[in-house]
């Protein structure tokens, strides 16, 4: 688990030697590992007291603590670093408007991407981290109604924007037509890319693209599906477009 976190978060780590030896960079503490002060009701009131995610996260944190001494050693450097950022014009409180609701984030590190902030601070984990470099589309969300890669944007840049994630598109029992069409046409296998696929598919309904399957494929090219559910994805998109 320590390896997994090291690998997944490697871009967040400073490459300067003194910080490498100090362990995790400050933003990993503040952005990726520390929850919001007030957890979302759905997370806090899980049916059996904890969710699959919180259970696995707990295992992960325990694993890191047991296996990696530098984490504890890193603690003393965190506060001065954050203080420096604030003095250098870094962010204090940032308010993001997501799915119609405002979230005020205290001490948001400017390095936190919109993707990491959605997942790790606000716990809207429907948006997925795939490549983290704008190449796979798993992190697709809407900003002011347009689809973007949330991994290639810093969260601090989005104050005042209207952000929509898969959680804002539809909910169980009240699915968006595109979500329902993906279910009907089996537009996924493992499901990891699905939220990004659906966010792209919903956005393209408003884009000036032609009616053919070729044009649907081209418009969906920014979303990679390793299971290869493309044929069924195109069928789902085609169906919703024909009814729109």
């Amino acid at each position: 688990m320590a390896d997994t976190i090291n690998t997944r978060m490697k871009h967040l780590r400073s490459r300067t030697p003194q910080n490498v030896t100090a362990g995790l960079a400050p933003d990993q503490q503040s952005v990726d590992l520390e929850p919001l002060a007030e957890p979302l009701a759905s997370e806090a009131a899980g049916k059996r007291g904890f969710s699959r995610r919180s259970f696995l996260s707990g295992l992960g944190a325990a694993g890191v603590l047991a296996g990696a001494a530098p984490l504890a050693a890193a603690a003393p450097v965190i506060e001065p670093a954050l203080q420096d950022q604030a003095e250098a014009g870094g962010t204090g409180n940032v308010t993001l408007r997501i799915n119609g609701k405002e979230y005020t984030l205290r001490g948001l590190d400017p390095r936190a991407t919109l993707l990491d902030t959605l997942r790790e601070r606000i716990h809207l984990t429907g948006t997925k981290k795939g490549c983290d470099h704008g190449q796979c589309g798993a992190c697709t969300v809407h900003v002011n109604g347009r689809r973007v890669n949330s991994c290639l944007s810093f969260a601090v840049m989005h104050e005042g924007d209207e952000i929509t994630t898969i959680e804002g598109i539809g909910q169980p029992g009240n699915l968006h037509a595109m979500q329902a069409a993906f279910v009907e046409h089996d537009g996924y296998q493992c499901g990891y890319c699905t939220s990004g696929q659906i966010m792209s598919a919903v956005a393209l309904l408003k884009e000036p693209i032609g009616p053919s399957d070729e044009e649907i494929k081209s418009a969906m090219a920014g979303n990679i599906c390793r299971c290869g559910a493309y044929t069924n994805i195109v069928a789902a998109v085609r169906q919703v477009r024909s009814k729109a």
């Binding site: 871009h11 490459r15 290639l152 601090v156």
Partner: protein
């Protein structure tokens, strides 16, 4: 990722005043990617997303003024661009993905950096890392002896063979755009051909921008009466991939002869590659296969392939011939 301070500039003046602190960030599609790879390590970011440079306006003399903050998708779908500068719309839509095109800006695309895998390696240009003269001058070029299938065959030097990745820039080279910048010393314009620099002995210097300068607009000249244009992009897969070779052609044919011609190529050059050689070979000639073939030979006459990319010479020739054929059909 190295930490940085962040400021959001509400106006061009404020952005310029903050410029000395670091880099401007617009769409972030290149910059954030490269910051994650430690290729870019700005101490400060000046967010220019609030700047009022997001308009596309007709100029009095018939040209088009594109604000630096106009997103690639908005530029590609603009009615005037589609009607009068189709090659630009086609080039933009052939690049990246819809999500990236919604983020990427006109000014940012001009500054897009190479996809050379050695350049993108986090430790390149440092001791123990791959040599990269673009990252750290004097450290060598790992691509010369390494895997260089996607690298440039035109405009290379013994210090750098990195391909310029942009599609938009290839179309703008053929359209002879003008770039407007504003900086500490005031405003100035840069002809498109002078904006991007050949690597030569200084591959770390990629363009004509001076410290603290901000791209504000790109002007396209009045559309050439009676001309047609075409952008053809060849790549390893049909979408979401960088060019192995591309061609932007603007041509006017009268009485079967070529009376106006502009040719630029992508995927093969160290900068967006305007081919004056191809244009000279075509001007006044009949618009037929023999002329196109002669132009392609002229365009690639100085090509210098590396061990893995000799195929690009023939591919680029065929790409240009096909694009000329389409634009003059």
């Amino acid at each position: 990722m190295e930490t940085f301070s962040y400021v959001k500039a509400p106006s061009v003046d404020k952005a310029l005043a903050s410029a000395s602190q670091g880099k401007f960030i617009a769409g972030g599609t290149t910059l954030v990617d490269l910051m994650k790879l430690s290729v870019e390590t700005p101490k400060a970011l000046v967010d220019i997303n609030l700047l009022p440079l997001d308009k596309i306006e007709k100029l009095p003399e018939g040209g088009l003024r594109i604000g630096a903050m106009v997103r690639n998708s908005d530029l590609a779908w603009n009615a005037d661009v589609q009607k009068s500068y189709a090659v630009l719309s086609e080039a933009l839509l052939s690049g990246a993905s819809p999500q990236l095109r919604n983020m990427a800006t006109t000014g940012g695309n001009l500054l897009q950096r190479t996809r050379c895998a050695y350049f993108r390696e986090p430790s390149a240009g440092t001791s123990g890392g791959y040599g990269c003269n673009k990252r750290t001058p004097g450290t060598g070029c790992a691509a010369l002896e390494g895997f260089n299938r996607t690298h440039a065959i035109l405009g290379t030097s013994e210090h750098c063979i990195a391909t310029h990745p942009s599609d938009m820039c290839v179309a703008m080279a053929a359209l002879e755009a003008t770039i407007h910048v504003e900086g500490p010393k005031g405003k100035r314009t840069i002809a498109f051909a002078d904006f991007h620099k050949l690597p030569g002995d200084t591959p770390n210097i990629e363009n004509a921008l001076e410290a603290g300068e901000l791209i504000t607009y790109v002007d396209l000249p009045k559309p050439v009466e009676g001309a047609r244009s075409n952008y053809l992009k060849l790549r390893d897969r049909a979408s979401y991939e960088f060019a192995l070779s591309s061609a932007a052609v603007v041509a006017r044919v009268e009485g079967g002869h070529i009376r106006y011609i502009r040719v630029a190529m992508g995927g093969v050059g160290t900068k967006p590659w305007r081919s004056h050689e191809a244009e000279a070979a075509l001007m006044g000639k009949p618009a037929n296969a023999a002329s196109f073939k002669a132009a392609a030979e002229a365009a690639l006459a100085k090509a210098k392939p590396q061990k893995d990319n000799a195929f690009k010479v023939e591919l680029a020739k065929r790409c240009l011939v096909r694009s000329l054929k389409t634009a003059t059909a």
